[in-house]
């Protein structure tokens, strides 16, 4: 069955979709370009690429550097393998993009989801953002409850740690609120335009 839910699969599909790449470069992009992804090692990346090829979502293409203008592969100028997204792979990626279940709200997953928001419908975006927000609010509630229960018994450092932790979560909630608000505004503005914009 190979649940293969992983963040890696998602990120790889999304990155390769933007432009074909070989593994080594893919890894750099995971670290830097999309700043928030964690640094996966080759030990995870290459096996993952293999299975994605097996699934038929990626296709291997031997050949020169895709970003390299001096075309003419004089003989077989490199053992590079360039991966590109197949039609099925694109479908798969879109399927992953459209999922708005609880998985999409977890810390790791959410980061990737957000990074690919540009390729998503506003509906999905709002659902993911709102899901994430309510998840964080649940977490906040628990933290507050636990703090109320244990406040007096804890030393200054533990307390400070909890305080800072809570503040971080609260801060992310505010961030989400802004994002949701701006999505809403955009949507409303668009609706108005579509209806003929009679009110001004």
């Amino acid at each position: 069955m190979s649940r293969r839910s992983g963040v890696l699969e998602f990120a790889v599909l999304g990155l390769v979709r933007e432009s074909p790449m070989h593994g080594y470069e893919l890894r750099k992009r995971l670290n830097t370009s999309l700043g928030v992804f964690r640094a996966f090692s080759y030990g995870s990346l290459y096996p993952c690429l293999k299975t994605l090829v097996q699934q038929g979502w990626l296709a291997e293409e031997p050949g020169g550097d895709p970003g390299d203008p001096r075309g003419t592969p004089l003989s077989n100028r490199r053992a590079k393998i360039v991966y590109r997204l197949t039609a099925e792979g694109k479908e798969r990626f879109e399927e992953l993009l459209s999922q708005t279940g609880p998985d999409a709200w977890e810390d790791e997953h959410f980061g990737v989801r957000f990074a690919f928001f540009g390729q998503t419908s506003r509906d999905v975006r709002m659902r993911v953002l709102e899901g994430r927000r309510s998840r964080l609010e649940e977490r906040l509630a628990k933290m507050r409850a636990s703090m109320a229960r244990t406040r007096e018994k804890l030393d200054a450092y533990t307390l400070e740690l909890q305080r800072h932790g809570m503040e971080s979560v609260e801060r992310e909630v505010r961030w989400l609120n802004e994002l949701i608000e701006s999505e809403r505004e955009e949507r409303d503005r668009r609706d108005q335009r579509d209806r003929g914009d009679t009110t001004t």
Copy 2:
């Protein structure tokens, strides 16, 4: 060799040190009391307890609930196992506490370290805080560099994600600055007192 570096071991030793406990309660404390620890499952906790006993750091004690006043175990009123820290366990914990190497600065580890700061010398505290800070500053530098390189090519969402990520890190750096500053002040005040406080 069983490197057993894990956060779990550290947290368990620290919690059991405060007061003997059985596994089930230990787990609740990992989730809530020390708010920041992640929620370990029993599947990790119980095996961990076992190995800690094997190492001689914890001792099992059958018997009633430690926080239960009605002593008299009528027959053998429960299959509970209460764990307490042995002398070697205390030594081990102190050894872990005194480590100021790079491990102590990693995200997960740092949280636990901080939670037990109350049991640490100011020297160690400052080293850990400063280590953590410089690690975050390295990270910031990388993020800034990467953003400078890729700014134009990225869509609004990716950019926003990076911006928010950077702001989070910057915020933690400010937090650390305050903590370090207050540690420094306390130290200076103490030094002054010890020297006779001639200047006023």
